[in-house]
Symmetry: C2
Subunit: 129 residues, 2 copies
DNA sequence: ATTTATTTACGAAAGTCTTCGTACATTTGA
DNA sequence: TCAAATGTACGAAGACTTTCGTAAATAAAT
């Protein structure tokens, strides 16, 4: 059996996935209300997007009651994984280290954040020993 | 004066930008030959793409001779920056540390890569002291 | 000089994404 | 009960992307 086709969410679909991860299984209404805070689109637009996402297998839904409830079909982990991997391959020549160093090397990475990373690295080392 | 409109390259445009960064200023022919190694599209398709990229301001070109020479209008740095920033904002809740830890936490990040990152962090610390 | 090859310009088809209007079904509540 | 509100389904328009065929200009070759 082949692994689920690698469907790439569009930006709009991504916004909806974000909300589904954040709020858990939700109705179109709930997603739409949240979405309209930052975006200007009609209700049926959101509905249609979510229906298409369902066709694509990006979300599953429970249609047992009138108000259908949608659930993300990917974990946030999986989606992040795909994006990061693609980014490393295409933009950073396959080197995770380059991505990391590029990211850290930005001025808006705070001292606290760097400390976090360092702590994490040290944890890693401890485990390996 | 407002900063150059934030045009987002499509995936196809990104492929061409990659090649322009890699090979420097190039003709359509050069880009197309390289592109066809991994992709199957006609010459005029590549041409059209690059013309559109020119309209969008993603590339500049020298049309003084018959064979136009195209140059990326963004540095690779700038493009990486945009992508990484967007990713951090949208997928990692604004925390660069989370992106970094997620990236390192993948099994295909080798010991050598991790060592590189550690060395980099230590350099950073030295500079700050 | 004239044919051949290479290149740009242009337009249009096919595909995808986003948007919304309209129709129909179901629930709510007066 | 039956009108109003809310929800889903569907189709189609408009925008954008990708693709390529054809025509016209320029350069190269014989």
């Amino acid at each position: 059996m082949m692994t689920q086709k690698n469907i790439k969410p569009t930006d709009s679909e991504m916004e909806i996935l974000q909300l589904l991860w954040q709020k858990g299984p939700s109705s179109v209404r709930e997603i739409h209300d949240e979405l309209s805070k930052t975006k200007d689109a009609g209700y049926t637009t959101t509905l249609k997007l979510m229906q298409i996402m369902h066709e694509k297998g990006l979300v599953s839904r429970d249609a047992s009651s009138k108000v259908h409830i949608y659930t993300a079909a990917l974990t946030q982990q999986q989606a992040q994984q795909q994006l990061v991997t693609k980014m490393i391959d295409h933009m950073f020549n396959g080197s995770a280290a380059r991505l990391v160093m590029h990211t850290i090397g930005q001025k808006h990475t705070s001292k606290e954040e760097i400390a976090l990373i360092k702590a994490y690295l040290e944890e890693l080392e401890k485990d390996k020993k």
